[in-house]
């Protein structure tokens, strides 16, 4: 396993005796098999989801395995829900191990919905924000008056005993602020220090600590220092703590906005579903919907789980998932997906995927995972941040030494100011935030447009694509061939030809055959039963119907059987040039008709391909179809480079060939037949129709069939990468320029030395700037690019 997804990562609810829907009705008392019943101890309820339990006998096996674990009081499995509730004081991991030993997989059940989790996160964030604002207010309450005093009325120096006493009191007040408002910095710094690591807290703690300690030395033993150096910096300590808390608070707010896309997706999940049980409609929580349940949805309601329409006819708005604005018609046998909205009619559908298996749940999972992954461009920042803080500490020491050795009097005061400022101005956070914040917003933005990006690497590579390979069938074209022309040669009627043709083709699984059967059905013609059905590889089919020998296939088949097709040869060539596939139909070795089948081009393919070409992307079309059809399609959609009659494995070869030319190759296909080429390409795009796509099959999944999704995906990737670069550059320049200025390199030339308070403000707002810049991406419109 190389990818731990959110399925492996679950919240553990371990509040005692919490009620749980899935465990309703399970009796807990009197479990005789419990080998270790420690009734005196507080019992904890554990909920686990079991994977691999396929028969009812698994239940006793799993329960037995759990009951033998020391500390387990009782274990009861709900086979229908594949969940088990365990009472006892045992860590979840041990329970999971016991189940694994018994031969099953288990994971902790997320007992709360995604929505509840988001609410809880918002609540926690709000609380943290309040705490930070309070800390900020207290610190600034002391810092601001002190700073105003220092700037306007008085010198903050210690010369008399009264001044000593006053400043001593201020020093104690500052200590109070440090403990009350800045405690988290000092504890964090100390803990990191013990771990031989250093972080943001280390810098803040060292900076403010140095300023305070020096000031206290000035107050306590002023004689140690020359008169000019008896300056106190309590205001700097208080101001820095205040400003950094303010920066953190604003960052919490801004960060909340970056996860709006995922919140929107989570908001698409219904809370209840109306299922039909015992001929009655009952509203139940969606967690309780079982596979094969019949669910009724009225107009205007949201579809609760994935399913297949059993009854009724309606139009469903799938735009929230696919980005496709037009409602999609649904009737018996069509798939519906959770999160979409039923617009017009009332339908009943059978649940086929529930809970965490629905397409929506998988999309949420994938987006969440991708939002947390890092593109390669972020690795540089990671490498820097590992050394960043200790390097800053060293620079602070060197800066202090330089001032002591070469600086003007009072050297010690300048040394302290410069060291403090260096420590405070450096901001590893901005550097660290630069990439993840943009990825978070960019991936979310793409999801809104119906583009699912698997990870940060795919996001980065997609922005660099130079050549895009498009599969023809199902990608440029609809992928469902339709009968376009039926020309009858002799006395037979069109209906008679279609009846016979659909009868012989009903047994074939070829897409062209299916087109003929579908077309006949649309005209109310039902296929008849044929006998002696034979498929002639690469040529066609043969069968008998009412003592008539039917032959259906290509030119080669007709020629081999000696059937004269001269009457339609020219017509056939004309069809081929129009990207239609001609097929001959003979009855009793006499040509009866020619039927042309074509796979229509999607209505926006031409425009989308133009958009890609306009962005400088070279387009290559690959198809397994014949040359004439390929040429016709390519010409229609404005593609000059194409390859026809390509086998799937050759598609991968073509990808490698283009890569050999130095191209960054994107491959777009339906995700199944094109798997080798998709895997070979720098970025594989799986194109789906509606939401019926395997979202794990490619680097980037386009939820709607339109090729505009490709251009959207590339546009969002480019915008995100630009945003990351801006962030990284900003953070890098800020630190590279800020640290030397703080150390005092400008002093010899301009007499400029930064105040630690300014440094504190700059540092607090540098990370806020990064988050704000990332948030700008939220307003990006892919369609405009």
């Amino acid at each position: 396993m190389s990818n731990a997804n959110n399925n492996d990562v679950s919240d553990t609810k371990h509040t005692c005796c919490q009620s749980k829907k899935t465990a309703q009705g399970l009796a807990l008392a009197g479990n005789e098999t419990a080998t270790f019943a420690n009734n005196d101890e507080k019992q904890t309820e554990h909920h686990l989801i079991i994977d691999g339990a396929s028969c009812a006998s698994c239940v006793s096996k799993i329960e037995k395995a759990l009951n033998t674990v020391q500390g387990v009081h009782s274990a009861q499995m709900n086979f229908a829900q594949r969940t088990v509730m365990v009472m006892g004081n045992v860590p979840d991991g041990i329970l999971i191990s016991a189940i694994e030993i018994a031969g099953y997989n288990a994971k902790v059940d997320t007992s709360e919905s995604e929505e509840e989790a988001i609410d809880e996160k918002d609540k926690a964030d709000a609380q943290y924000y309040k705490k930070l604002m309070r800390d900020m207010a207290i610190a600034l309450l002391l810092g601001v008056p002190l700073m105003i005093y220092g700037l306007t009325i008085g010198e903050m120096t210690v010369t008399t005993n009264t001044e000593r006493l006053v400043w001593f009191s201020v020093g104690l007040l500052t200590l109070g602020v440090m403990i009350f408002s800045g405690k988290h910095f000092y504890i964090g710094a100390w803990n990191s220090f013990k771990n031989h690591s250093a972080n943001m807290d280390t810098l803040i703690a060292l900076g403010t600590g140095t300023a305070w300690l020096y000031s206290m030395v000035v107050v306590a033993v002023p004689d140690l220092l020359p008169l000019m150096a008896r300056h106190v910096y309590f205001e700097a300590t208080a101001m820095i703590i205040g400003l950094i808390n303010l920066g953190l608070a604003l960052e919490v707010k801004a960060r909340g906005k970056t996860s709006e896309a995922i919140k929107r997706l989570i908001g698409l999940q219904s809370k209840t579903a109306r299922v039909i049980r015992d001929d009655k409609d009952i509203d139940i929580p969606i967690a309780d919907v079982l596979l094969d349940d019949l669910v009724r949805v009225r107009p205007g309601e949201r579809i609760s789980v994935d399913g297949v329409v059993i009854e009724g006819h309606t139009a469903v708005d799938e735009s929230m998932l696919t980005g496709e604005p037009m409602p999609v018609e649904k009737t018996g046998g069509d798939k519906v997906v959770a999160g979409t909205i039923n617009k017009s009619g009332s339908i009943i559908f059978k649940a086929t995927r529930v809970g965490k298996d629905t397409a929506l749940a998988q999309i949420i999972n994938m987006v969440k995972r991708a939002q947390n992954s890092k593109p390669p461009i972020g690795r540089m920042a990671d490498a820097i941040s590992a050394y960043f803080v200790p390097v800053i500490m060293i620079i602070a020491v060197i800066s202090a030494l330089a001032w002591l050795n070469f600086g003007p009097a009072p050297g010690i005061a300048f040394a302290i100011v410069s060291a403090t400022t260096v420590l405070i101005i450096a901001c590893p956070c901005a550097l660290g935030l630069a990439t993840p914040m943009s990825v978070m917003v960019g991936v979310g933005k793409a999801a809104e447009a119906g583009v699912l990006i698997r990870n940060g690497e795919a996001l980065q590579t997609a922005s660099k694509i130079t050549t895009m390979i498009l599969d023809k069938t199902g990608t440029i074209t609809v992928g469902a061939p339709k009968v376009t022309d039926v020309l009858v040669a002799n006395k037979l009627t069109r209906e008679a030809v279609l009846t016979m043709a659909s009868s012989i083709e009903a047994g074939s699984e070829h897409p062209l055959a299916m087109a003929i059967v579908e077309s006949a059905k649309e005209q109310g013609i039902q296929p008849l039963k044929v006998t002696g059905f034979t498929s002639i590889a690469g040529q066609g089919v043969e069968a008998t119907l009412d003592n008539n020998t039917l032959l259906f296939g290509n030119e080669k088949l007709m020629t081999e059987r000696g059937i004269n097709i001269d009457a339609f040869i020219e017509k056939a060539q004309a069809f081929a040039q129009e990207a239609k596939t001609p097929m001959y139909f003979a009855v009793n070795d006499e040509l009866a008709a020619i039927i042309a089948v074509a796979d229509p081009i999607k209505n926006d393919s031409i425009e989308a391909i133009k958009r890609l070409q306009h962005n400088g992307i070279r387009i290559v079309m690959l198809t397994g179809d014949n040359r004439l059809t390929a040429k016709a399609i390519a010409e229609k959609v404005g593609i000059t480079e194409y390859l026809a009659e390509v086998m799937p494995q050759d598609k991968a070869k073509k990808v490698a060939e283009l890569q050999g030319e130095g191209e960054i190759v994107g491959m777009t296909g339906d995700g199944i037949n094109d798997a080798p080429a998709l895997a070979h390409a720098n970025v594989g795009f799986a194109i789906g129709t509606g939401t019926d796509v395997a979202i794990e099959s490619a680097d980037i999944t386009l939820m709607r069939g339109s090729l505009h999704g490709l251009a959207d995906a590339i546009a969002v990737s480019k915008a995100t990468l630009t945003n990351i670069k801006q962030n990284l550059l900003g953070a890098f320049i800020y630190n590279v320029a800020g640290v030397p200025i703080a150390a005092g390199v400008l002093y010899p030339f301009f007499g400029l030395l930064l105040s630690p308070v300014i440094a504190g403000a700059a540092m607090a707002f540098s990370s806020l700037t990064v988050v704000t810049n990332a948030n700008r991406l939220r307003f990006f419109k892919a369609k405009d690019h």
Partner: protein, 117 residues
């Protein structure tokens, strides 16, 4: 002044040694369930020794409200997880080849190490 400079140089040496050269020893191999608490700017424990070629589950509990601590990343194992406040989250570590794998928050301010032996 000489002593001050020497003290400064010594301080730099201490920083280099403490943060880069020093390698902690004596982390005991842990099996079964490992619980890591994210609190006050660090992971407790921050160095975890686990057996090689064997899947392990580590439970993380974030008690630190700082939003930095919310994301856990183990880049080399392609693992990332969101740690809600005051909730236990089980992270499955796949059977891995021996080596040292960093785990950290998104900004690398919270750092821990997974030692697979």
């Amino acid at each position: 002044m000489l002593w001050v400079n020497l003290a400064g140089v010594a301080l730099i040496a201490v920083i280099v040694w403490w943060f880069w050269i020093y390698k902690s020893v004596g982390v005991a191999m842990q099996e079964g369930v490992i619980e890591v608490v994210v609190k006050d700017g660090v992971y407790h424990p921050s160095k975890i020794k686990i057996p090689a070629n064997k899947g392990t589950t580590i439970t993380f509990e974030r008690k630190d409200p700082s939003s930095c601590a919310e994301t856990l990343v183990i880049p080399d194992l392609e693992i990332n997880a969101t740690l809600p406040l005051n909730k236990k989250v089980s992270v499955k570590i796949p059977a891995s080849v021996p080596g040292r794998y960093d785990f950290h928050c998104q900004m690398k301010m919270y750092i821990g190490e997974l030692i697979v032996e």
